[in-house]
Point group: C2
Chain length 203, copies 2
């Protein structure tokens, strides 16, 4: 008998399995990962730094779909816009990771490096150090809120018979399809206009 060609366990496979579990059920446990990979729970712990380590591997995996090169574009507002669009697309592919990743501290080196680059874009554009994190977090809030909204049903409001909510019915009929994308554009346009106004006021 030769050695198996694919190792039962490695960080890639553990991460992939954790992501599958979250996509399916909104969370994961280490014993569930072990069961799917036909391994012992203790063996999984040999490969990762506990459950928190798996969360950070997930963060790197989801973030790896983002276009980091967007942050090399200039001017700064085009850089932020491109980053925000690719950020939303990456998380829209795995919306159920959002609550988990938003509420665990960021330790993954490649993700911290991405924040370093985003901070650098704003500092080089002339924003004060104290302005930077509120701006970046506000942008993340709208990006991640909107990525969650992409996982919502297209018919999100189910009106009752006899329409006791006629103006809501009219507004929903008027917006038609693609409401999630249009709402994201409103939020992103508002954010960028405000950031430009802040920057202009700082000069």
């Amino acid at each position: 008998m030769g050695r198996p060609r694919t190792p039962l366990l490695d960080r890639e496979r553990i991460t992939t399995t954790a992501l599958e579990l979250i996509d399916e059920q909104g969370d994961f446990s280490v014993p569930q990962i072990a069961r799917r990979l036909g391994a012992q729970t203790g063996s999984v712990y040999h490969h990762v730094d506990g459950r928190d380590g798996i969360v950070e591997l997930l963060r790197e995996r989801v973030a790896s779909a983002m276009d980091v090169a967007a942050l090399d574009v200039r001017p700064w507002d085009a850089a932020l816009e491109g980053w925000a669009r690719s950020y939303r697309a990456a998380f829209a592919a795995h919306p159920r990771t959002i609550p988990l990743l938003m509420t665990s501290p960021v330790r993954a080196p490649r993700v911290l490096e991405q924040y370093e680059r985003a901070v650098t874009v704003l500092r080089e554009a002339g924003f004060a150090a104290a302005e930077v994190m509120p701006l970046l977090i506000a942008l993340e809030n709208l990006v991640l809120g909107s990525a969650l909204d992409l996982a919502a049903p297209e018919a999100m409001w189910e009106l009752a018979e006899g329409t006791p909510t006629p103006r809501l019915a009219e507004a929903l009929a008027a917006v038609g399809e693609g409401r999630a994308d249009r709402a994201f554009e409103v939020g992103l346009t508002a954010f960028l206009a405000h950031a430009r106004a802040l920057r202009a006021a700082g000069d």
Copy 2:
């Protein structure tokens, strides 16, 4: 033996138990609710319209903490601002309901009625029917993204030894405490300024 003074099952108690389960573990199941209330799973189904019915009871419960009277304030932008602040506070108390409620269709009559009032504020202010839902959804995305962020640790970025991310370290030191609140203010200010500009352009 008299009758028990508190019925084992009613919609209030089922909703409270579902909310406790979500606060603890991010989701609920009907058998879990039954177990906590010492009842049969089938008995729970006698009181509610399936799992979806419980989701709608949860939506009404969380939304009942919102200040609906904020929508009676004028001018329209003050109404939206007050509504957004109370919306964020209500969901910040139960952040783990956010992914569930954002991805299930809204059927709860009292919640639909709240949307009707929000739509009415914007229509009476002169917004076109097609503009209203993208604006309201953009506001919800920032409110709910920010409510999730309130559930994040205050120290959200754990920088590595030797700080390979010096500008991120500087930006984090400069923002100090209360980053989540400051980011929400940036997002809300940006949204309201953009909405006012849209309204002014429409005249």
